[in-house]
Symmetry: C2
Subunit: 561 residues, 2 copies
Amino acid sequence: MTVTPETDMSDLAIASRAVLKPIAHIAEAAGIPQEALEPYGRYKAKIDPQHLLPRGVKAGKVVLVSGISPTPAGEGKSTVSVGLGDALAATGTKTMIALREPSLGPIFGMKGGATGGGYAQVLPMDEINMHFTGDFHAITSANNLLMALLDNHLHQGNALGIDPRRISFKRVLDMNDRALRNIVIGLGGPSEGIPRETGFEITVASEVMAVFCLATGLSDLRARLGRMTIAYTYDKRPVTVDDLGAAGAMTMLLKEAIKPNLVQTIAGTPALIHGGPFANIAHGCNSAIATNTARSLADVVVTEAGFGADLGAEKFMDIKARFAGCAPSAVVLVATVRALKMHGGVAKDSLSAQNLDAVRLGMANLARHAANIRKFGVEPVIAVNRFTTDTPEELAEITSWAAEAGIECAVADVWGRGGAGATELAQAVLRTIDAPNDFAPLYELERPTEEKILTIVREIYGGDGVEYSPGAKRMLQQIRDNGWDDLPVCMAKTQYSFSDDPALLGAPQGFMVQVRELIPKTGAGFIVAITGAIMTMPGLPKVPAAMHMDVDEQGRAVGLS
Amino acid sequence: MTVTPETDMSDLAIASRAVLKPIAHIAEAAGIPQEALEPYGRYKAKIDPQHLLPRGVKAGKVVLVSGISPTPAGEGKSTVSVGLGDALAATGTKTMIALREPSLGPIFGMKGGATGGGYAQVLPMDEINMHFTGDFHAITSANNLLMALLDNHLHQGNALGIDPRRISFKRVLDMNDRALRNIVIGLGGPSEGIPRETGFEITVASEVMAVFCLATGLSDLRARLGRMTIAYTYDKRPVTVDDLGAAGAMTMLLKEAIKPNLVQTIAGTPALIHGGPFANIAHGCNSAIATNTARSLADVVVTEAGFGADLGAEKFMDIKARFAGCAPSAVVLVATVRALKMHGGVAKDSLSAQNLDAVRLGMANLARHAANIRKFGVEPVIAVNRFTTDTPEELAEITSWAAEAGIECAVADVWGRGGAGATELAQAVLRTIDAPNDFAPLYELERPTEEKILTIVREIYGGDGVEYSPGAKRMLQQIRDNGWDDLPVCMAKTQYSFSDDPALLGAPQGFMVQVRELIPKTGAGFIVAITGAIMTMPGLPKVPAAMHMDVDEQGRAVGLS
């Protein structure tokens, strides 16, 4: 989400005035040897980790950027990530940024690009937003090849005995396309496949995307793809990709995509932008390969997790850091005065007026997130992403509270000033990562699934307990029977509240979380717990952003912002 | 289709042993200035035609590679195109090859890659076959964005009054996926879109692909996209992309893809590989931009058209050359002894035995194609693509017939020897393009659609006449009413026969052609005449080629051949 204060320059206008360095120069400065660099155009490149020199035992420290529970007011995590990276680089610290790739769905739907904003952007913004180096297309192809092979298997005699009513995997498109949510395929008679109900999801919701982002290398990628559960037989045994024999061809489709993509910020800081799973039904952060590649090159890696810290940071700790060994040395919690006021009960159209009470009330949300981070043995750093409407008194409410609570806190103006607006924040982060920390995941994998979910609900969300639907209860039994009980949990919950009710802002208490469904993602290696209605194929709004997009006579993108 | 004689080396094995030059060297040798070159990896690049120097009035001559009516025995047009290009380059002629991009559908379906074969290949073959520079993915995205916007338009109130039963455009995937041919979408209730019947086609069948390949530049691309007819209103008026307002965003998705892709052959000859429309419901040759870019750089451009000359060459002349001004100076007709024997009545499993009578009989097919080429004022050159099973007597049947008929003819061994196997063919081609020719399309655009179709059927196919289904008759009236009568015709006919019956091999006579349906493609700028059953979404076979594909421990593709 991009913070856009009043200004006469769009993100695209600022981006298009930046003078980019050739990507080979960025790579050289980052210590990437020539033989590891595969340019894609002049300002993008793939990095082949096979050709990087091993860095020995010491790896760069990870700074995870997360945030308060998001509101429609916007928080600007990506913008802060980029600005913080630039500010750290400006101190002489060898810094690299690792972020998710944008999805075409939201770009054409609501709000244009997802590459930071203002003077804290990664470039070339139009190319990163459109196709980039083709990774999402490769993931879409791999997912849909699998499904074509699956439906072909049914059509050609169904030797595996797959129950067409129990196929859990779906086709995907990187598009917001409501009409594909519920469809019937295979119509038209005996030569046209087996009729069955299914649907499309958006590519970022594909388990292939989650696998892609958790794999530690090509052989791990292939093994994880092979382990994905895609259907059940008539006698309810799980069917995997390996049963179908599709993992090899899928891996072939992904072999170039799996290499991280190098770009630069407006300030010339190197950034790896790679992968982008949903933050609800998946874990919501860039690829493990990109994070660890960045760590092998830089002393500090700034990376981001989707949604608020209750979802993004928890999953980063309990899933990604656990599997990929990339525990953060500090967690930056991004907040804005406007968003805190919304958590304090102010309506969206009244956010410009000063309201100290609302800031104080809303800070309960921030405080709970901060306390949660400490439960992983990691220190939080609060970044107040400044808007032009913020008053000094409002900002002081936050900074003085943080000082009292003994939490590092800095106000940053990254949109308007880039890295220069995050100097204090960078110092706070450097102090924090230099202090010792004692990372540990929240729960042990050996505990039963119910216990893991309850731990997250009590410790992170502040809820009282968990209620399971009858179907979810049956799935708990299947999870035990199939030996999946040692997988971590990936919570799919509304991002707007600690609870499963998006209307409960601030820091609600005394609630139960309803688990409607449990979906084993045996390739990604987690059990998704669905609470409430989670949309895996968004729709387009009344007037989609696409309607304003075009190309000018010089072939440049317009209307993308 | 790749010719694969008995050998112990697969195409992939040969390709992977080739030593490639950096793409910047290939570009420099081809006269492409640095500022026009956008590398994609080390051995692929996009060329921005905006940065090429204008070449003045003189443009390179075009050699179109076409063939006899294809048979399951395989003819090897792409392999001959590559070998001929290498042979021409070896004579010191400034040569460039322009070919279609492969589609993932057939790669995973029947027969692996589509980048030539043996020692006549374009490289890097695995990357060209998998994703390449992402052009097909961009076309898929543009097509599917259009459809998401269309279904969203229906859902949001349908201001244009579109009849959901009369939406002629479909979504696409670059995949063979039978189960998506006939589907029902928009199920699930009022918030999930408008239910309607539709289906997916393969990306190469999309009108966006045809538009992409006929556009002469970015603004022409946008204008053609805007003119595409996608649906009809309840009162049966055509609805275009411009009515929906989607052309700008679609062009934005295509703005990088529209730049031609530069690669090299095993011998280092530059090749532009760009676009790849179906040869039945579209015109079946690489982009006009690539052909004309190649002509601005080289003295001779070798390019290819899909299927036999009755389809590929006719459409090249009557559609592509007419719109893009790239008339050929010679047409190479590729034939093989084996394929001619099939046209002469021999079954596929008896092709290895010498059979002079069958060769003689089958040559009627070749003779009709050769005579047809002359109807466009262009000279044919016969290329006999040699197999190890061919006997000298069989080859002599063809060469002596050609000598009598006054047609240039050469036997080539491009699979086994690359350009060195096509020296004679190159000389024959050079003699032919140096002679004056007098190109003219077969018919004038001003004639009524029925008359254009009848002309093609009589002059090219050798048929007696045309019969129209009731629906096609109604559409003839609509074509007149909507002012589309001055568009050329794009015949969608079986490639296996001059007639619309795939079993009628050789040179059948005394047949009528049944036009089942007429589809106006107002963006591409032609009327598709459907004869027989034309499949726009192929299916996978019992054992798809994908099952044998994988990646080895060094990350290299295996099983792709």
